[in-house]
């Protein structure tokens, strides 16, 4: 006799720029360390891909205090890209995360086109690096960059310079601190980007009225958390309509319903950031919730709902 029919779970697998991801739920850069902190809560092999803390051309100690401020349904951060630099990353961090057996995306951040090119050349061919996410949008490390990441021609220049030296998929992460995010995405696509991810944080500020000065040592910081979700979702929806490369949705995703909204807006995958901070189980809970929702709605494949909420013009 044959075994009775066993219902298999829905497929959560997606494909981004030729990479197969076992599910569309990733960590967001800067919100997950290099995973070791969360490996003490759950099995990291469950996630679609691990996107780690930004790597810069040289080690950075980070900004002086105060680095974070809580705001309504969100937080501001001005960490200042604290990281040990590419050599230490390659020698001590990469071998450990590579052994997890899940795709590893390396977020790189720099101050000039040449530095981005150098970082891509240095890291994209390393065993264990599945993709490079170009952090074109960190708002906390100096004026020059904040300007250059919000103009389409600067995005195009950086991406087209990196593309020939980058040996793996190249995914620019876009800044929301711009007037036309679709233009940034189009510039990235025509310069050879394999996908785009968005949004990075929105530049914001908080003031301590008792001390009569900005709360953050850096004066301004990047706003993240549930407060930014509607803005992020709108930008993702808009960018999906403007480009034909995959879009990775980021911004305030805290539960499976949020993730589903981004997927229905047309994102191929999502990244979970600040939610990890207030719920270390955010990613596995989102995965469980997505699977339950698909099962309940008798949807066999998560790809069926990608873009499901998009309206005809």
């Amino acid at each position: 006799m044959r075994e009775p029919h066993v219902a298999t779970g829905p497929s959560l697998a997606v494909e981004v720029a030729g990479m197969r991801l076992q599910n569309p739920v990733l960590s967001a850069s800067g919100c997950f360390g290099w995973g070791e902190e969360y490996a003490r809560f759950w099995d990291l092999r469950r996630m679609g891909a691990l996107v780690g803390k930004a790597v810069t051309p040289h080690a950075r100690p980070g900004n002086p205090d105060v680095r974070i401020a809580e705001t309504p349904a969100g937080m501001l951060n001005a960490i200042g890209l604290q990281n040990p630099g590419p050599a230490a990353f390659r020698e001590t961090i990469l071998p450990r995360v590579h052994s997890l057996g899940i795709p590893i995306w390396v977020n790189v951040s720099a101050n000039s086109v040449q530095e981005y090119v150098d970082l891509c050349g240095m890291l994209s061919a390393e065993p264990g690096v599945s993709a490079i996410e170009l952090n074109l949008s960190c708002p906390n490390v100096g004026r020059g960059r904040a300007e250059f990441c919000v103009a389409p021609d600067a995005v195009a220049e950086t991406v087209s310079a990196c593309r020939p030296v980058c040996r793996c998929p190249l995914i620019p992460k876009l800044s929301p601190n711009t007037t036309d995010i679709a233009a940034l995405a189009r510039a990235a696509e025509s310069a050879g980007a394999d996908a785009v991810s968005l949004i990075n944080t929105l530049v914001g500020m908080a003031i301590d009225v008792d001390r009569r000065r900005p709360v953050l040592g850096n004066r301004t910081g990047g706003l993240s958390g549930p407060a930014v979700k509607p803005v992020a979702l709108r930008m993702v929806y808009e960018v999906v309509g403007a480009v034909s490369i995959p879009v990775i949705g980021i911004g305030g995703i805290a539960c499976w319903r949020d993730a589903l909204e981004f997927l229905m807006a047309g994102a191929t995958a999502v990244q979970v950031g600040t939610a990890n901070f207030f719920n270390p189980m955010a990613i596995p809970e989102i995965l469980d919730g997505l699977e339950t929702w698909l099962r309940r709605n008798e949807i066999a494949d998560v790809r069926e709902i990608i873009g499901a909420a998009r309206l005809e013009k």
Partner: protein
Amino acid sequence: MIPILEAEVLDHYEVAPEHFVLTLDAPPIAEQARPGQFVMLRALDAWDPLLPRAFSVFHADSEGGTLSVLYRVVGRGTGRLRGHEPGMYVRAWGPLGNQFRLPEGERVVLVGGGVGVPPLVFWAERLAALAVPMEIVALIGAQRGELLVGLEQLKRARVTFRCATDDGSAGHRGYVTDLLPRTLEGKRATVYACGPMPMLRAVARITEATETPTELALEAPMACGVGACLGCTIPRRGGGYARVCSDGPVFPARDVDWSLMP
């Protein structure tokens, strides 16, 4: 694995004006908690305030499975926590961070200010239960007498203590650190301190001069509490930053770069 659970509030009472002791049913956390460590607590349905709050462990009963924290209502996070009556639940994860290391010398001096007292009480209880003979002296400070906390627990652990208050309403009138130099005389001591930053700075200055081993349990606003966000850093002597949550919260006083502390 670090336990994370929805923990039932078993008891929640005011010990001093605006100071509360919250006791949770949290067996896996209570079993692992060591003095100096902390837990993250968060209301189940809250998005404002968004972030969990860190509380040092005041008492952990591994047999009964209960975990207590002692906190002062200072803002939105603790204000929200205050509303949790017995029978309600909070999300709790921990224990997190490192712990106090065993003392050197014959005398242990605990210096606690305000809501910095709880981890020292937990440490005093554990030290007093050790089979090693040692003298434990606690110096406890607060703004005024009615805000002194943890004294009953210290009495029960048979720990000698002296108090200081800003207004002289109990014990010495002045800073708790005024009592420290004399307490260090005579015997080799190890100092453990927790409290406001100016108090810790004063402790560090005094014990550096006397070359007394000193550990400080630090407090900092945190987002994650587990080492991922890099938001709770302090300047480290010799350069760079240390994370209060995961490189600490207990640091040797000499490891802190006081010249860069706010």
